[in-house]
Symmetry: C2
Subunit: 107 residues, 2 copies
Amino acid sequence: MGGNERQIPDLDKVIHERARLRILVFLASSAESETGFTDLKSGLGMTAGNLSAQLSTLEEAGYIALRKTFIGKKPFTGVSLTLSGDKALEQYLDEMESMLAAARGRR
Amino acid sequence: MGGNERQIPDLDKVIHERARLRILVFLASSAESETGFTDLKSGLGMTAGNLSAQLSTLEEAGYIALRKTFIGKKPFTGVSLTLSGDKALEQYLDEMESMLAAARGRR
């Protein structure tokens, strides 16, 4: 039997990377449309450096938007999923679900 | 709101890597307990070099077993999921399902 009967999807590389996937899922599962950098950092247990680097990659891909402002005198960075990020995540989730179904089909 | 209310799982690094995940899902979704190297290669559209490297990593983790033999005069490499690989994949799938549910909870 060849592999053509069961398509194993390619998966979006930008989204699939573990830290970035965790960031996107965190944003997508948030009740608010915008999440503060600090909440994201503590919620995911990531270092500020790593989180910043991953957010840059996601921003370059157009999947998230960063908004820098001040709350009182404190700088605040708000992170939100863009429409394009939401769609890309949705497609990734569909592909992942079909993989789960494939992997579990036999069980 | 902090992140404690929604746990974003860590995900097994050995399994989560795209190529390795595709290999494991291919093996897990196969009707046979053993898949030939060549079938795996063509089914996943991977190069022999990349597939070999990823299989070595999975073998070192104890997630797959490789069996080298001959069919007639042709060398044959059979790849199968081990019990430990099956369990690790199962746990990964559980974690991924909970992430999917989290990401889609809001939708």
